[in-house]
Symmetry: C4
Subunit: 278 residues, 4 copies
C-alpha cells in the first residue's frame, strides 16, 4: 500500500469515526450509540443475581463482543487522527480507554482475585455512556448557565452545609440520649440533610416533642430555601449575558458611565468621541 493510499484510508476512517456529516459517519455514530447503550444495559443486568445465575455464559460473550468492538474503535481512532497523543490524553480519549480496560484486567487477575473485585473494576465501563453527551448540543446552554451561576450556587451549598452541621449538632444534643437513631453528630447531620432536602427516608426520625419541633423548623426552612438555587439558575437563564457596560470615556471631561445610545457627554455636553463643539 502506497503512502498516499494509506493517507487516504486514514482520512476516510477519520471521516467515518470522528465526523457525522457523511452517511457513513452518521451510520457509525448511531451504531456506536446503540452499542454503548447495549453494553451499559448488559453491565446493569449482569449485576442482578437472578439474571446472572441463568444467563452467565451469554453475558460473558456479550461482554467480550462489546470490549473487542470498542477496542477496535479505540485503535482506529488512534490510527486515523493526526495527533494520537492529543486524543489519548483528551477527556474522551481517557474515557474510551477506561471503557475497555476493565475487561482485559479481569483476565489477568481472574484466577487469583475474587470475582467481586473484578466486577467492581468492570463497572467503570459505565463511563462509556459519557460519549452520548456529545450527540446533544442543547446541553451547552444549560451548562453555561449553571457554570456562570456556579459561584453563587457554591455559596448557597456552603450555607446549607453550615446549617446542617449546626442543626445536626443541636439534634444530637436534643435526641442523642433518648433516641438511638441520633447516636453521633455525623449521623445527625445525615438526618439533617435528608430532612432539609425534603428527601425524608424515615430511617432516622425524631422521637421527642422538642426534636420534632426542630425537625418541623428544618423542613419549612428547606421548603423555603429551595427557592434560592432556583432563583439563581432562573435569573441566569433569563439574563444569560452580563450587562454590557459601555466603556466610553468623554474626551473633554474624562467621565465614563455613558449609555450605548449617547452621542454627547451627559456631564459636560460635548461630543463624547472628540470632535468639535456643536
Amino acid at each position: 500500500m502506497s503512502v498516499e493510499s494509506r493517507n487516504r484510508l486514514r482520512y476516510k476512517i477519520h471521516e467515518i469515526i470522528f465526523e457525522a456529516d457523511t452517511p457513513a459517519g452518521k451510520f457509525f455514530d448511531v451504531a456506536l450509540l446503540i452499542f454503548i447503550i447495549g453494553s451499559v444495559l448488559a453491565a446493569l443486568l449482569e449485576s442482578v443475581p437472578s439474571i446472572i445465575a441463568r444467563y452467565s455464559n451469554m453475558f460473558y460473550y456479550f461482554e467480550w463482543a462489546f470490549t473487542i468492538f470498542f477496542t477496535i474503535e479505540y485503535i482506529l481512532r488512534l490510527y486515523s487522527t493526526l495527533k494520537p497523543l492529543k486524543y489519548a490524553t483528551s477527556f474522551y480519549g481517557i474515557i474510551d480507554l477506561l471503557a475497555i480496560l476493565p475487561t482485559y484486567i479481569s483476565v489477568f487477575f481472574a484466577g487469583t482475585q475474587s470475582l467481586i473485585v473484578i466486577r467492581a473494576i468492570r463497572l467503570l465501563r459505565i463511563f462509556r455512556i459519557f460519549k452520548m453527551v456529545t450527540f446533544v448540543s442543547e446541553a451547552e446552554y444549560i451548562t453555561k448557565a449553571l457554570f456562570k451561576s456556579s459561584r453563587k450556587i457554591l455559596v448557597f451549598l456552603f450555607a446549607i452545609l453550615m446549617i446542617v452541621v449546626i442543626v445536626g449538632s443541636v439534634m444530637y444534643l436534643v435526641e442523642g440520649g433518648v433516641n438511638p437513631d441520633f447516636d453521633s453528630i455525623p449521623r445527625s447531620i445525615y438526618w439533617a440533610i435528608v430532612t432539609l432536602t425534603t428527601v425524608g427516608y424515615g430511617d432516622i426520625s425524631p422521637n421527642t416533642s422538642f426534636g420534632q419541633f426542630i425537625a418541623a423548623f428544618v423542613m419549612i426552612l428547606g421548603y423555603a430555601v429551595i427557592a434560592v438555587p432556583t432563583g439563581i439558575v432562573t435569573n441566569e437563564l433569563i439574563n444569560p449575558k452580563d450587562i454590557p457596560t459601555n466603556t466610553q470615556v468623554c474626551m473633554h471631561c474624562s467621565r465614563s458611565g455613558h449609555d450605548d445610545d449617547a452621542t454627547f457627554c451627559k456631564y459636560c455636553g460635548n461630543l463624547i468621541n472628540g470632535g468639535l463643539d456643536t
Copy 2:
C-alpha cells in the same frame, strides 16, 4: 325521510355533539362531562375489594349503562360528521372507541378467562378522562411553553439519567456487599432516582458511613439540580417569543427602535427607508 331532512338532522346532531355554542350543545357537553367522571369513578370504586363485594350488581348495571350511552354517542359522532374515517382515526376517535371496547370484549371472554384479566382491559376506559381536556383552553399556554422547552428538558433528563446510572453503580460497589437493599445495579439506580428526586421512600437506604455520605451528596445535588427545569420553564413562560429585534434606522433622524410593521419613522414622521423630505 328525505335526503334534505336527513342532512338537516345530521347537521343538528353535529351541532349538538361536536360544538358547544348552542344551548343544546352546551347541555350535551356538560352531561357528557358528568357521565365521563361518573364512569371513571365507578371504575375506580369497582377495584376496591370491600365495595365490589357488596355492590357487585350495581356496578355491573352502571358499567353497561355508561357503555351503552358512550356507544350511542360514538355512533352518532360517526354518523353526523362529514368525514367519518377522519374522525375514527383521529386521537379522540381512537380514545372514544377504546373507552367502550373493553366492556364488549369482557362479554365474549367472560366464561373462559379469569375475571381479573377482563377487569384489567376495562381499565383502559380510564382514557375517557382524556376527553375532559378539550373543555379547558388555558392549557394551551402551558403546553406550548413545555413543548418549546422540551428539548432543553430532554437534555436535562438525559443528564439526570447519566447521574443516576453512575451513582447507582457506585452505591452498588459501596453498599452491595454489606446491605441487601443494594443487591443489583438496577435496584441501586432505582434508589438513586428515589433519592435524587427527593421522593425518599426509605424502603432502600444506605447503612455504611460512606454510603450515607454519597447519599447526602446525591440529595444536595438533587436539591440544587431541581433549579434547572424550573429555570427552563420559567424562562419560557416569561419570554414566550424571541424578542424581535428590528434593525431599521430612519434615514432622516437616524433613530432606531421601530416596530416590524412600521413604514414611517415614529420620531420624525418621515419614511424610514428613503423617500422624500416633507
Copy 3:
C-alpha cells in the same frame, strides 16, 4: 344615659375594637392577638393525652376564660357597629361566632354525648387564627399573583389529576396481584400522588421490577413537572400587570398599535393626535 352619650360610647368602643389607629385601639388589637394565639395553643395542648390527664382543670378554666372574653368582644362588636347584621353575616362575623359557639354547645350536650364529639366541634375555634391575617398587608401582593394565575394552576392540577389516575390504574394492573399495598385503584392513585409530589412516605412502595421502573418514571416526571407551577407564579410575580397596550388611534389612517413614545403614525407618517402635516 342620654342618647348622645350612648352614641359617644358606641363610637368610642367602635374606635377601640374595629380600628387600630389610636393607642387604645392598638393595645386592644395586640391583646386580642395574644388571646387568640393563647386559645389556639390551649386547644392544641388540650389534645395531648399526657397533658390533659394532669392539667384537666386548668384547661377547663382557660377554655371558659377565653370563651367569655371572646363572647364579650363579639357582643361589643355587634353593639358598636352601625350595621350589626352586616357584621354578623360578614366573613369575620361568622368566624367570630364559630369561635365561641363550640364551648357553649358542649355545656348542653356534655351529659348525653361523648366527650370526643364535643372536642371535635371545639376545634373550629382554630379559625380564630384567621383574624391574624388582617394584621399583615404584604399578603395581598402574593394572593393577587396567586389569584391571577389560579386558572393556569387549576389546569396544571387537572393535568396532575389525570396523570395520577392513569398511573394509579397502570400500577394497580402491574403490582395489584403480587403486592398487597396496591389492592385497589384509589389506593394506587394515593401512591401515585405520594410519589409524584415527591413526598414519598414509603408506606406503599412497588416490589416488582416493572413497578419500580414505572415508579422511577413517575418520580422524574414529578421532579420535572414541579417546574410548571413555579414558572407560572414566578411569571405572575415578575410581570404583575398586563402589558399596557397603547390605545392611541391615528386620526389620519385610523390604525392602532403605536408605541408609547410615538409622536408620528408609523403607518402614514402624520401626527397621531390630529395636528398639521410637518
Copy 4:
C-alpha cells in the same frame, strides 16, 4: 521595648490577623480556615461512639491544641485592635470567645459533672465555622435578595403555619380515633408539616380512606405552593433594585430616557434643564 516599636508590632499583628492583603495575612487566613475545619471535624468525629472509644486520647490532645491556638489568636486580636471592647462585643468577637470557652469550662466541671453535659457545651465550638463565611464575598448578593424578600417570605410562612394548624386539627378528628399515629393535634400538625413540605418520613401516615384523601390534597397543595417562595426570591434576584425612572425631558430636543446623574442631554448635547443654546 519602646512605645513606638510596640505600636509597630501591634500594627504588624493587626495587618496579619485582620487583613488578607499581604502574603503573611493571606497565609494566616488560610491556616486559620484549615484549623477551623479541623476542629469542627474533630468535634463531629468525637461524637461517634466507635471512634471515641479507640482514639479518646488523640481527640483530647487535638481538642486542647485547637483551643490553645484559638485562644492565642483571640488574645492577639484583642491586643492588636485599637478598640478591643468594640471587637469583643462584635458578632465575630463573641463567636470567637464562644469557640474557646467550652473547653476551659470542661476543666472546672469535669470532676463533678457528667461527661455528656461537658461534651454538650463543647458543641458550641461548632460556631467556629461561622468564621468561614467571612471568606466568601458572593454571599452578599443572595442574602440581600433574601433580606429584601424576607417580609413576603414571612407572610408565606405564616400562611403555611395556618394551613398546617388547620390541616393538623382536621386530621386529628379524622384519624385520631382509629390511628395511634394521630393521638394529639401537635403530632398531627407535625405530620402536616412533614407532608406539606414533601419530606414524607412515613413514621406517621394516614390509614383511613378519608385521611388519605386529605393527605393527597395536602401533598398537591404543598407541591403547588412551593412555587410561591421560589417566585418571590426569583423575582428579587432578577429585579434586584426598583427601576429608577427618570422623568426629565430635555428642553431642546424634548427627549427623555436620561440617567439620574445627567446634566446635559445625551442626544443633542444641551443642558437638560433650561440653560442657553450652545
